[in-house]
């Protein structure tokens, strides 16, 4: 059993590519997360506003794509993104 996670690619009203993440990300499902990111080319908004948990394995996926992503996150994830230093490399917006 893997951790429940739904990954839905889409477009923002401004036309930018968006990956909507619902659920939790940990080492059991980072491969799926990584594959979803790889499946979208170019600049991308990763919408984590309905992601309840993100661990360092998930962070490492985000770091790998840091050059081309923006992150939308709920307040509960902000400390993790900040402490890990990701916030200094990508734009993190509140939801």
């Amino acid at each position: 059993m893997t951790t429940p996670l739904t990954l839905t690619p889409g477009r923002a009203p401004d036309g930018a590519a968006v990956l909507k993440v619902v659920g939790e990300i940990d080492m059991s499902n980072t491969d799926a997360f990584d594959a979803a990111l790889d499946g979208i080319e170019g600049r991308l908004v990763v919408d984590l506003s309905e992601c309840e948990y993100l661990d360092s394995a998930g962070l490492s996926v985000l770091f790998a794509h840091a050059s081309r992503i923006e992150v939308v996150a709920s307040p509960v994830l902000v400390p993790v993104l900040t402490f890990s230093g990701l916030a200094t490399m990508v734009t993190v917006r509140g939801s």
Partner: protein, 1387 residues
């Protein structure tokens, strides 16, 4: 659940659903082929059955149920574990009467009853023999059967909720046996009595000990049966004797002799027909344990037949060991008593050796005696007519020859008896006639002594077998004895028949025997000192011989005596011949004629008697009738003659009276002193060797007394030589004469001394005489306190004589200020009282001239000196030293006794006793060293830090030397110390008093020290026994108290009262309920001891069962009211009963007179749960009880306790409750178990709790404790559980997320690093919330990889995240796993 039309699908789904509540038993139930049971496939089961099965399976409490016409069997996992054993899974789905066939006789009727009446049953501690472990097992169960109804409300089955009480019931039974065994240690018993006592106790527990046999080793290594229970002596399994060195002996005696236990299978033919004890079948195994002896080979061993219905586990083995320990201790004490008896016998042996010595010497005397006596007899006959003087002197020679001959013969009799060489010949004799004849021989002597002689010897019905010679000695000795000690009244001889015995009594009205001498009356060479008698001659063997001779006749002799009114000897001799050796019997009747033996007795007795009338001891031989003879004095003078030899006395008297002196004769020094004091003679002529007071002492006594100091003394002695005479003259004798002396020389010396004495004669001072006649010391003090006059008694007591008067203060007899500061002060106080001219009375210490300390009781009064008109103080005192020390001894023994009785352990007893000794002797320190089994001796000192290593070489040597001494004999090293050894339960103990050297350690101190040491040894032995009993009691209490497994989140303590050492009635209990809630009970039964513990056990079980029926706390207590009302001793038990929902923190509770629980909230407030209080149990049965509800806030702590924790004398209970509340608040950030210890320590009164304390703590929520496989797929469910728990802790969302992330990283690390490449193992997550600290631990059993930042950048990030999220992170890698420890402060 929706029903599908597909039947197969439905069936599978239904099975899954019905059995899903449990994944252990569920699958096995699912595997049963239900179509073969009357219940049919689960799909067709009625809803009621499905519900029942779900409840059953989801319960964590042991349950089983039966349903349908065959009572088909179901059970849950807890029941499988606790009760079903090997019958699982076979039992599932089978008819209940098949599953429990072996106990169906017990339970079948109960189940029928439930099915027919629909009413539940209730059984407590019912004995059932379950065959769940491969053998029928003794087990006890408390259970209820409740009806189960189908959808139509018809009873179709039953549910059993059960708890097993086996451990408790068995522990109580064993404890009772151990208690009974230890119940009578006070009386010293013989080994036989001890074993009989133990046997009676062991026989009372035929369940744990179906049979026992106690064997004792003999000196040859064989073992002898000394006691048995259950099995009869003579059974082949318990032979009377097990010979040594037999390899295949029934019991392995050789191993046991080495101190090893052995387990013996009882399968040989010798074991056929062994008794079954309290069971249907006999034991199949026996445990054989040695009866250990301290520091030696075991005394023997105990064979304990084992209950075949229990396994031989640690507890059973320990019980048998304790029983054997008790028996061994009993034997040890009985044998030490025997050893003392043996010592007494050894002393008797010494006496026998003495006899042998004397008799050997005596033998050598016989020849010369014969050579003397023969010629003397001839001379007597030849010269009878010629010269009366010569014939008189020959008479003296003859008489003394006879006396010596008699003494020699008596000693020879002894040696014959001892050597078994008596050549007795027992002839049938008319005892009455023989006795009367013997008595008649003495009549003349008795008449002459002025006594009545009553001989009452009527004929007896049959003859008595006697050896005539022996019998004569018996009667003559008794008669001679009676005459010797009787001065007025009568002597009576009587013969009677009494049943099958002839009784001869010889009674007198003489001086009697003091009661303290009675036990030694028949002892050889024992003479009663200072008893008034007609003669001091005698060897002290007459009565001993009489006893031996009577014994040879198969008879007995006893004596009754009252001091001052007489003595009666009673001899009993059996009629017939059965008691006599056949080869020594003669059927020729003996004659009644008296043999020649009698002559010396009578002759000797006659010599004691005065020649004239009056006092036998003081014989006025002849008054001087002639004023002047050639050698006599010019003026009539009196001479006092003192000699214990009657012939010598008479000879001297005749010589002196012939010379014209007035003569008075006395028999010893004491009489001489009295005679001189009564009337001063002109001269004393005294023998040196005399009983009671010898000549030299007589002179000294005369010289000391001013009134008699001037009386001249002429000493006569058998000791020749210059030195002897110098000694005599130094003692103050005026002259000295050595025997034999010429009559003329004696007369010349007497005359010279009398004349000299007359020249220096002074007036008698009546004043002095008067004062000196006082028995108490007398003194007069002048105004300055100087002692100006004293009497003799003063000198006797203090040693200071009149020669150094006056004695000015401070007087020389004051106790030394240095050595006896306290005594000096007391003396000074008394003296200042005296100077103040008061009347006074004091008991004070004083120092004798020779330095020893004594105690005097002094009284004084002021008086007017008629000569000078000045005020003087007149005082008297007497010596009360003996009384003082007797009181001191009693006080010291009592104080030590109290110390020892207060002690609750061996070390405490010892250190208390040492303090007592230190105080008593004002010692600098007291040291006790036990030389036990350990390498280093154990040191206990009044200085608590002292150890063997701290002692210097000298001290160690001194203590070592002490070891060589016999126990209880003190050694004194000047004033600097004293030591003694005594028996300590762990070995020999040397005790050393370190004294300051200023005060001497006197004889009295030595006596006191050995008395106290003896007392101490006994006390230590007792304390040792208490120690062992305490350990047993505690072990057993723990066995019957409390649940063995506490639910998570609880901590408990139980502490028995420090004094007395008894099991108490306090208890706590937690009961996990089937719905996940937890019942909590803390209770307190009235009283202590086994009875209270038994009541407690029953209430606890009842309360447990009631809670399981899912009623509320109030209903539980109400039901318990009814139960308690019918249980003796349960009235007034207080109980706090609550039901806690650990998910929500909701607590409902009710209290039956119990102190309120204390709730400490994280905001610092403390609340008492006192809203549902009511009366103790059974006070008002039937009355409604209140119930209250309370919500435990997150991270609050709940304390429940019994009153021992908070109740103190002279303090309101509320003060104690407040203190307990503060203690819990103070420990808000302490882990729960540590908090329990802190609360117990903080509230403990000095000296320990004086009542039992039971304590139970709960902190909400309970710590989270998860173990999961190290697989990444488990991370999400773990997070979910953790999230739920964190919510219970009431943390803010931000903190919750921090903990989740940190925990998630730690778990991920454990999953990823801990097990790369190996089989996943387990990870353990533990979280505990204190008031302001959250503590999280993640532990795995693998080794983390060294960080490789490039390869695993995100893992390095994980650790960084943990640090960022938590306050404190510690990662401890180790060979057996890695532990991450994290803390978060809770705002």
């Amino acid at each position: 659940m929706t029903r599908s039309d597909d039947a197969g699908h439905e069936s599978t789904a239904a099975v899954a659903e019905v059995f899903a509540a449990d994944d252990e038993v569920g699958p096995d139930l699912a595997a049963v082929d239900w179509t073969r049971t009357p219940l049919g496939p689960p799909a067709d089961w009625p809803q009621s059955l499905r519900t029942a099965v779900s409840i059953l399976l989801s319960s964590r409490f042991p349950m089983w149920m039966a349903w349908g016409p065959q009572l088909t069997f179901f059970c849950n996992a807890a029941y499988r574990r606790d009760t079903l054993g090997r019958k699982y899974p076979w039992a599932l789905g089978r008819p209940a009467d098949e599953v429990w066939a072996e106990i169906w006789g017990d339970i079948g009727p109960r189940i029928d009853n439930v099915l027919t009446t629909g009413k539940a049953t209730w059984d407590q501690a019912l004995l059932l023999f379950l065959e769940r472990s491969g053998y029928p097992e003794e087990s006890y169960h408390t259970f209820s059967y409740s009806p189960l109804r189908d959808d139509l409300d018809v009873v179709v089955g039953m549910l059993c909720v059960v708890s097993e009480d086996t451990d408790r019931v068995i522990a109580e039974r064993r404890m009772a046996t151990l208690r009974d065994l230890g119940s009578d240690p006070s009386v010293v018993r013989t080994e036989q009595e001890t074993l009989a006592f133990a046997r009676d106790q062991l026989a009372r527990n035929p369940r744990d000990l179906p049979f026992t046999a106690t064997y004792l080793f003999g000196e040859d290594g064989s073992a002898r049966l000394a006691g048995a229970t259950g099995v009869t002596a003579g059974h082949t399994g318990a032979p009377e004797v097990l010979p040594a060195g037999v390899p295949d002996a029934l019991w392995p005696a050789a191993e046991l002799a080495r101190g090893e236990s052995a387990l013996v299978e009882l399968d040989g033919p010798a074991f056929d027909g062994l008794p079954a004890g309290g069971w249907p079948l006999p034991p199949v195994q026996a445990l054989v344990v040695p009866l250990q002896q301290q520091g030696g080979m075991p005394y023997g061993f105990l064979v304990a037949g084992l209950n075949r219905y229990r396994q031989l586990d640690e507890g059973y083995r320990g019980f048998v060991d304790l029983v054997a320990g008790h028996v061994a201790a009993g034997i040890a004490s009985a044998r030490s008593y025997q050893a003392q008896q043996r010592r007494a016998e050894e002393l008797a042996e010494l006496d026998r050796a003495k006899t042998a010595f004397f008799s050997n010497i005596s033998h050598e005397f016989r020849t010369p005696l014969t050579l003397i006596m023969g010629p003397v007899a001839e001379l007597r006959d030849r010269l009878a007519e010629s010269d009366p003087r010569t014939s008189g002197e020959l008479e003296i020679v003859h008489r003394n020859g006879l006396r010596l001959g008699k003494l020699v013969n008596t000693l020879l009799d002894f040696s014959r008896i001892e050597a078994g060489r008596t050549q007795a010949r027992y002839e049938p004799v008319d005892l009455a006639a023989v006795t009367a004849e013997l008595a008649s021989v003495f009549r003349s002597a008795v008449d002459k002594a002025g006594l009545d002689f009553d001989v009452d010897c009527p004929p007896l019905p049959e003859p008595v077998h006697l050896d005539q010679g022996m019998w004569e000695k018996v009667v003559l000795n008794l008669l001679s004895n009676a005459l010797k000690f009787t001065f007025e009244g009568s002597i009576r001889v009587a013969v009677r028949a009494d049943g099958r015995e002839a009784v001869v009594t010889v009674a007198d009205t003489g001086v009697g025997v003091p009661p303290e001498e009675m036990p030694r009356l028949f002892e050889r060479f024992h003479r009663i000192e200072n008893s008034r008698s007609r003669s001091n001659e005698g060897s002290g063997i007459g009565l001993a011989l009489v006893q031996e001779l009577v014994g040879l006749h198969g008879g007995s002799i006893t004596a009754d005596s009252a001091e001052g009114s007489g003595t009666r000897f009673t001899i009993r001799v059996p009629f017939g011949t059965a008691h006599l050796p056949a080869e020594a019997l003669s059927d020729v009747a003996g004659s009644t004629a008296v043999s020649t033996t009698a002559a010396p007795y009578v002759q000797e007795a006659l010599r004691w008697l005065p020649t004239g009338h009056g006092d036998a001891a003081l014989a006025d031989v002849k008054a001087p009738d002639d004023a002047a003879t050639a050698s006599g004095p010019a003026v009539p003078a009196t001479v006092l003659v003192a000699d214990d030899n009657a012939d010598m006395r008479e000879y001297l008297s005749r010589l002196l009276s012939d010379a014209g002196y007035g003569v008075r004769a006395v028999t010893d020094g004491v009489e001489a002193l009295e005679a001189v004091r009564a009337q001063l003679p002109d001269l004393v002529v005294s023998d040196v060797m005399m009983p009671r007071l010898d000549g030299l002492s007589l002179v000294a006594a005369l010289r000391v007394d001013p009134r008699t100091a001037a009386v001249p003394v002429l000493l006569l002695s058998a000791r020749a030589g210059q030195e002897a005479s110098i000694e005599g003259l130094q003692a103050g004798a005026d002259d000295y004469l050595v025997k034999p002396f010429a009559a003329a020389e004696l007369l010349a010396r007497v005359r010279a001394n009398v004349e000299l004495s007359r020249l220096r004669h002074h007036h008698a001072r009546w004043h002095t005489a008067l004062i000196d006649s006082l028995q108490e010391a007398f003194f007069v003090c002048d105004e300055e306190g100087a002692v100006v006059e004293i009497n003799t008694a003063f000198t006797d007591i203090l040693g200071y004589g009149p020669e150094n008067l006056p004695y000015t203060p401070a007087h020389p007899w004051w106790p030394d200020a240095e050595a006896h500061p306290d005594g000096h002060r007391r003396f000074a106080d008394a003296f200042s009282d005296l100077l103040g001219r008061n009347r006074g009375s004091h008991t004070i210490p004083a120092t004798h001239r020779d330095g020893h300390l004594l105690w005097i009781s002094v009284m004084f009064n002021p008086a007017q000196d008629p000569d000078t008109g000045r005020t003087v103080v007149v005082g008297t005192f007497r010596d009360v030293t003996a009384e003082h020390y007797a009181i001191q001894r009693d006080t010291a023994l009592a104080a030590l006794g109290i110390r020892l009785s207060e002690a609750t352990s061996l070390p405490q007893a010892l250190s208390g006793a040492l303090e007592e000794l230190e105080g008593l002797w004002q010692a600098r320190g007291v040291l006790a060293v036990v030389f036990g089994d350990r390498d280093t001796p154990t040191v206990t000192g009044t200085d608590p830090d002292l150890s063997w290593g701290d002692l210097d070489v000298e001290a160690r040597a001194r203590l070592g030397a002490l070891r060589e001494r016999p126990v209880l004999s003190p050694v004194v090293h000047g004033g600097s110390g004293a030591g003694i050894t005594l028996e300590h339960p762990e070995g020999l103990m040397a005790l050393w008093l370190d004294l300051d050297g200023r005060r001497p350690f006197t004889d009295q101190d030595e006596v006191l020290l050995s008395l106290l040491a003896g007392h101490l040894a006994h006390g230590l032995g007792r304390a040792h026994q208490i120690d062992q009993q305490r350990e047993t009691a505690l072990a057993l209490q723990r066995a019957i108290l409390g649940p063995s497994q506490l639910p998570n989140g609880f901590a408990v303590r139980y502490e028995p009262a420090a004094q007395p050492l008894e099991i108490g009635g306090d208890w706590y209990d937690t009961v996990p309920l089937p719905d996940g809630r937890i019942g909590i009970v803390v209770g307190d039964c009235v009283g202590r001891g086994l009875k209270a513990a038994a009541v407690m056990g029953q209430l606890r079980s009842a309360c447990r069962a009631l809670l399981l029926q899912q009623t509320g706390p109030a209903s539980t207590l109400m039901a318990l009211d009814h139960f308690a009302a019918g249980l003796p001793g349960a009235l007034c038990t207080t109980v706090f009963c609550g039901i806690l929902d650990p998910e929500t923190g909701r607590l409902t509770y009710s209290s039956a007179g119990h102190p309120p629980a204390i709730l400490a909230s994280p905001d610092g407030t403390t609340r008492l749960l006192d809203e549902a209080g009511s009366t103790p149990l059974a006070v008002r049965p039937g009355a409604q009880r209140p119930e209250a509800e309370c919500h435990l806030p997150a991270r609050a702590t709940l304390l429940m306790y019994t009153d021992g924790l908070v109740e103190r004398r002279r303090r309101p209970l509320t003060a104690g409750i407040d203190e307990a509340g503060e203690a819990v608040q103070a420990g808000r950030d302490t882990a729960l178990d540590d908090l329990a210890t802190e609360v117990m320590d903080r509230l403990a009164p000095t000296g320990g709790y004086d009542d039992d304390v039971a304590l139970l703590l709960y902190r909400h929520p309970a710590p989270l404790d998860l173990t999961f496989p190290a697989e990444s797929s488990r991370l999400a469910p773990v997070r979910k559980t953790l999230r739920g728990w964190l919510a219970q802790c009431g943390l803010p969302p931000r903190a919750v997320q921090s903990v989740l992330v940190a925990a998630g990283e730690a778990c991920a690390n454990a999953v990823e690093h801990g097990y790369r490449g190996t089989t996943p193992d387990e990870v353990r997550l533990r979280a505990e919330a204190l008031v302001s600290d959250l503590h999280l631990t993640v532990a795995d059993t693998g080794r983390w990889q060294a960080p490789e930042p490039e390869a695993n950048a995100h893992r390095g990030r994980g650790v960084a995240l943990m640090h960022a999220m938590m306050e404190q992170v510690t990662i401890t890698p180790g060979p057996n796993g890695t532990t991450v420890d994290m803390h978060l402060r809770i705002p």
